[in-house]
């Protein structure tokens, strides 16, 4: 997920031009539709008049007829007019789609819950298809009674439901050196927030009886990457959950169906999906995902390990590159703030590149380790502006500037970039991703 050397940039461009030649389905369709419309001038005219025919004072056909009946679509899908709101990826980021990342379309989501089909994806060995009847969770190691649980067993335990975000620590990691992602979906979209239901890990650990020498736990996935992470026992006993449901339904395959770990507030990779095994031990395992990856390289060549927490972060979701402004006038600037250490306490917004700030209204639920929505009314004069948001969490931590992060960590650490983000609004209302000093 590292960004590319300067010399490779041109290659990237060439690569991308190639990729664009093979547009994904929605773009192709749009392209074809466009082509058709241009080809038939008559069609163009009729399309326009058809649209006008459905506007007041005319009465549109859907009012003068009946629609489809129940269970025409047994599992409901979004309106066909929302087909564009999908997870997307940036093809050159990774070698293979089987170990890759896709991004949540934050620019079109409302409130704080991410719909299940739009939760960002990150796999290291693709999505396994697991029959829950054949899934088992083994808990063993330094325990009194090593046990194997079926899904039925797990779902019999007293359950909890909490709303928590999950964020990949590489979110924004392509921009340590400079702004290169041209959309909110790609700058911040490795981020989702759901209501998760499952058994507190503490309950399972009590059931097996943890030995006094145990200090760590290894969580392991049943997928082809055998994803594994060491989790300290304090976290496991604090707020980790073994999760089987998400936003009211069973987990999606992409999110670990039928079982995953959730370590609230911690980098997403620790919330191991397709969870098959928990082993209690007296030392950390130092597996590939906590040495080669998910460690943060500093300018002196040494690296931070066990960098688990996702620190306070925020971003403006309207306006943003995908959501430009049209004419001068009143708007509500909206955005999301979140902290892996607890609740969001306040969010300030600047429209002049950080010279002056106003406190935004924090809207709806303010939950610990959850996305939190904010808004601020703004009278746009139609001129250029530099929009920023700055969140503060309940520990008093203030979201830093990129300059502060670079000063402390250099530009090679890939993970945990939670800097104040800047959108430039140009005269005319176009919005672009920029970095300022």
């Amino acid at each position: 997920m590292s960004d590319k050397p300067a010399g490779q940039r041109r290659d990237l461009k060439a690569l991308l031009a190639q990729e664009a030649g093979k547009l994904p389905q929605p773009e192709r369709r749009a392209f074809l539709a466009n082509g058709l419309t241009l080809a038939g001038g008559a069609m163009l005219g009729s399309a326009t008049s058809a649209a006008a025919a459905n506007l007041p004072p005319e009465v549109p056909p859907w009012t003068r007829s009946v629609g489809r009946g129940v269970v025409t679509v047994p599992y409901g899908m979004p309106s066909r007019y929302e087909q564009d709101i999908v997870r997307r990826t940036v093809p050159w980021l990774t070698a293979s789609a089987i170990s890759s990342i896709s991004f949540t379309p934050l620019h079109r989501l409302k409130g704080i819950i991410t719909p299940n089909g739009l939760v960002f994806e990150r796999y290291h060995g693709g999505v396994p298809e697991i029959d829950p009847a054949e899934h088992r969770l083994m808990v063993h190691g330094l325990v009194d009674r090593p046990l194997i649980f079926t899904m039925d067993d797990l779902m019999r335990f007293p359950s909890v439901s909490v709303i928590r975000f999950i964020e990949c620590p590489a979110n924004g990691g392509m921009e340590w050196r400079g702004a290169q992602m041209e959309a909110l979906q790609f700058t911040h979209g490795m981020l989702s927030c759901c209501e998760w239901t499952g058994v507190p890990l503490a309950t399972l650990l009590q059931e097996v009886g943890v030995s006094a020498e145990a200090k760590w736990l290894l969580a392991e996935g049943a997928d082809g990457s055998g994803m594994s992470r060491s989790i300290p026992l304090e976290k496991a006993l604090d707020d980790s959950i073994v999760v089987y449901a998400q936003n009211g339904e069973m987990l999606r395959p992409e999110q670990g169906y039928p079982l995953r770990l959730l370590n609230p507030g911690w980098e997403g990779n620790t919330s191991v999906k397709w969870l098959r095994r928990l082993e209690l031990g007296d030392a950390a395992w130092y597996h590939r995902e906590e040495t080669s990856k998910y460690t943060d390289l500093m300018p002196d060549g040494r690296a931070r390990k066990f960098s688990w927490v996702q620190e306070t972060n925020s971003v403006i979701t309207f306006p943003c590159p995908e959501n430009g402004l049209k004419q001068a006038g009143k708007y509500e600037i909206e955005g999301l703030a979140w902290s892996g250490r607890g609740r969001i306490k306040r969010v300030d917004v600047s429209v002049d590149g950080g010279v002056s700030w106003r406190s935004a209204r924090v809207k709806g639920l303010i939950l610990p380790k959850a996305l939190t929505r904010f808004g601020l009314e703004w009278d746009w004069d139609g001129g250029p502006a530099l929009l920023q948001s700055r969140a503060v969490d309940e520990t008093g931590y203030v979201q830093p500037t990129l300059a502060q992060l670079r000063e402390a960590r250099g530009v090679e650490s890939i993970y945990h970039k939670n800097a104040i983000h800047t959108w430039r609004v140009a005269e005319g209302g176009g919005v672009t991703n920029v970095q300022i000093e």
Binding site: R9, R29, T37, P200, T295, R358, I436
Partner: protein
């Protein structure tokens, strides 16, 4: 862990043995602190509507939604003796042995077995080099495994040799996750051998050094002292509200559009694809499936020509294959195929794909190689 407001003091006391300590009664939320924490619905911007802040503090006193959420978690996780529920079956030693594959830096978890780089060389070239390169240099964008450049330079490339702190990690990872398309397919001796070979490529052991259960943990990795525990929070920003910088000093240092490396057609096209006539959508459906499957399952090899795979777009290569008949090609793609050029894994290694999806991908590949009907 458990922060409960005073309403819950009584309930909290019920949670015998839990780490739950009730907080003292909350002071009213101070206007200056701008705290919206713990309130539901409208939390006020601090300096504008103090009355809304009062609503917030009242809500806190009657127990807010997030307090209730935390309480429910605390109750569910209430301390109970082991075996209290009695769910689950005992895990037998044989069951554990089959799944317990993890290896630690101290060597715990390593199975009996051994191998040398010499023994691993052919295996590496057959099973690893197509992606990781004959010298561990990494083909295309596949990970590089060998190299000793310093970690302090511009854009240093991390490798097993210059970055990984423990050799155990390499054994554990290769055994659980490699080769990429056939995880957990190597025998323990094969893992020892190929791991020895990767260490050898990094000049960490000799060609004929026998790596085994008892000496692997003692292999000294150059960067074993290169890691320290995360010290964050490591930066302190201030909540400045006015005159925080001189507007004349602001410079735009980067603009992402100058680079133009992200796909943006989906929001820059004005035509909403939802408005596309349904007929057009269905006409391109097969194509779309073929392309999706190709991108996801076949392109890694058939794009660049990895592992001997015929490159999509290479018309002569595909014309010759096309002569076998479409059904033969599809069968080879579905069932897997060992040919002169190399090994084509069944469904490209992605067994979850339907036969028709693989067939659609084959058609797509032929079409894009000038070899369709």
């Amino acid at each position: 862990m458990c922060r409960l407001s005073r309403t819950f003091v009584g309930l909290c006391a019920l949670l015998a043995g839990s780490a739950c300590t009730p907080e003292p009664a909350q002071p009213p939320v101070s206007v200056a602190s701008g705290s919206g924490a713990g309130t539901m619905a409208v939390a006020a911007p601090p300096e504008t509507t103090p009355s809304a802040t009062r609503i917030g503090s009242t809500a806190r006193n009657i127990g807010t939604l997030d307090d209730i959420e935390e309480l429910s978690v605390a109750i569910a996780a209430e301390r109970r003796p082991s075996g209290y529920f009695g769910y689950g079956d005992p895990a037998t030693p044989e069951q554990i042995a089959g799944w317990d594959i993890d290896v630690r830096p101290d060597g715990k978890g390593l199975p009996p077995g051994s191998g040398t780089a010499e023994q691993g060389e052919a295996l590496y070239e057959e099973k690893c080099s197509t992606c990781h390169g004959v010298f561990g240099e990494g083909e295309g964008r596949w990970p590089k495994l060998a190299g000793d450049e310093p970690l302090t330079g511009e854009r240093p490339e991390k490798t097993v040799g210059n970055y990984w702190p423990y050799a155990s990690t390499l054994w554990d990872y290769v055994h659980r996750a490699m080769p990429f398309y056939e995880p957990q397919s190597l025998s323990d001796d094969e893992v020892y051998s190929v791991v020895a070979y990767v260490l050898y490529l990094n000049e960490l052991i000799e060609y004929d050094f026998e790596l085994n259960q008892s000496n692997l943990a003692a292999v000294e990795m150059p960067n074993r002292d290169g890691f320290f525990v995360d010290p964050r929070p490591d930066v302190v920003n201030a909540v400045c509200m006015e005159d925080c910088k001189n507007p004349d000093d602001i410079r735009i240092t980067w603009d992402s559009t100058e680079l133009g490396v992200t796909p943006t057609q989906h929001f820059q096209d004005d035509v909403a694809d939802a408005a596309a006539p349904a007929a057009v959508a269905s006409a391109t459906l097969d194509d779309a499936v073929g392309q999706r499957v190709y991108d996801q399952a076949c392109k890694t090899c058939h794009g660049p020509g990895l592992a001997g795979a015929p490159v999509v777009g290479d018309a002569p290569a595909w014309a010759a294959r096309r002569d076998q008949g479409l059904d033969v090609l599809v069968r080879h793609a579905v069932e897997g195929f060992q040919g002169e050029a190399g090994y084509m894994p069944a469904k490209g290694g992605q067994v979850q794909l339907g036969d028709d999806e693989v067939a659609a991908a084959v058609s797509y590949m032929l079409q894009n190689s000038g070899a369709a009907d």
